[in-house]
C-alpha cells in the first residue's frame, strides 16, 4: 500500500577542513500522505509518511529525526556536523511500513 521511497540526495560542502562545522543537506522524494485527505469519492487516503531519519558517521548515530505528517512532501532535512576526521556517512529513511532507503557519503578532509 505504501508508495515507494524515492531517490535520496545528500549534499556536503565541497571543501572541508578538520574542525569545520559543516552543514549536511538531505532531500528524499516522498509523498508524505497525511492520512487527513479523502478522495473525491470520499474515501480516506491512508497515512503514508517517512517517519524516521537517521544519520550515522562510521556507524555511530550522530543525528536523528522523528517525522510527523506535518513535514512537507519530499522531506528536506539539514543539520550540522563537526568534521574531525575522514569517514563515511550513512543516512537512512524509514517509512510507516518499516521499509528503508539509505544513502552514503564520504567525508574527506581537504
Amino acid at each position: 500500500m505504501s508508495s515507494a521511497i524515492g531517490q535520496p540526495r545528500l549534499r556536503l560542502p565541497a571543501q572541508i577542513r578538520a574542525g569545520d562545522v559543516i552543514e549536511i543537506r538531505t532531500l528524499i522524494t516522498h509523498v508524505m500522505e497525511t492520512g487527513q485527505r479523502r478522495t473525491p469519492e470520499g474515501q480516506e487516503i491512508p497515512r503514508d509518511i517517512i517517519r524516521r531519519f537517521e544519520a550515522r558517521f562510521d556507524g555511530e548515530l550522530v543525528f536523528a529525526m522523528d517525522l510527523a505528517p506535518a513535514i512537507a512532501a519530499n522531506p528536506y532535512i539539514a543539520f550540522p556536523f563537526r568534521a574531525e576526521r575522514a569517514g563515511r556517512f550513512e543516512m537512512t529513511w524509514t517509512n510507516d511500513a518499516g521499509e528503508t532507503r539509505s544513502a552514503n557519503a564520504e567525508l574527506k578532509l581537504g
Binding site: T34, R37, L61, F63, A68, I71, Y76, F81, R82
Partner: protein
C-alpha cells in the same frame, strides 16, 4: 473576630498562590487542549524557560504546504552540556506534533532545518531539551494564506 480573620487570610493566601500558578506565561498561554496535553507530556512537570532558542519561520507563508523552519539553540554541544532534543509543535494543525530532532555533541552546533505544513494561521512552538534536563522554549506566529494540510 480573630477566629474569622485567620481562615480568611488563609483563603486569600490560597487564592494568591493559585493566582501565581494561573498567571499565563506568555509562551504557554492560550493553547488548544491537545497542544497543551502534548506539551505537558514533554514537560513532565519541568518548567520551560524562554530564551537560548531561536525559531526562524516566515511571518507570512503564502503556501502552507512547505514552510521553511529553522531552530537554533545556543549551546556549546559538549558531552556535558548539549541539546539532546528539539520538539516542534504546530498549535493550529489537526495533529500538533511536527517533529522531534535528536541531537548529539558530534554535531558541533545545535541547529536544524526542515520544511513543514501549516493548515492555517497559527503559532509554532519549539522546545529544546538539554542534557541536564532543562527545557527552553520559543513561540512564533505564521500567517498562512493557503493552508497545507489537505483538509
Amino acid at each position: 473576630m480573630q477566629l474569622q480573620h485567620q481562615p480568611s487570610r488563609r483563603t486569600i493566601l490560597a487564592l494568591a498562590l493559585a493566582g501565581v500558578v494561573l498567571v499565563p506565561r506568555p509562551g504557554l498561554a492560550n493553547l488548544p487542549d491537545k497542544v497543551q496535553a502534548a506539551i505537558d507530556k514533554l514537560r513532565a512537570g519541568r518548567a520551560a524557560q524562554e530564551g537560548r532558542i531561536t525559531l526562524r519561520l516566515p511571518a507570512i507563508a503564502e503556501n502552507g504546504n512547505a514552510v521553511p523552519l529553522n531552530v537554533m539553540v545556543e549551546s556549546p554541544m559538549t558531552a556535558a552540556d548539549h541539546v539532546k532534543a528539539i520538539h516542534v509543535f504546530a498549535t493550529g494543525n489537526p495533529t500538533p506534533e511536527v517533529a522531534v530532532f535528536h541531537l548529539t555533541p558530534a554535531m558541533g552546533r545545535a541547529t536544524v532545518d526542515t520544511r513543514i505544513r501549516l493548515g492555517q494561521t497559527q503559532d509554532v512552538m519549539a522546545f529544546a531539551e538539554m542534557a541536564d534536563g532543562r527545557l527552553f522554549m520559543a513561540r512564533a506566529e505564521v500567517k498562512v494564506t493557503i493552508g497545507g494540510c489537505g483538509g
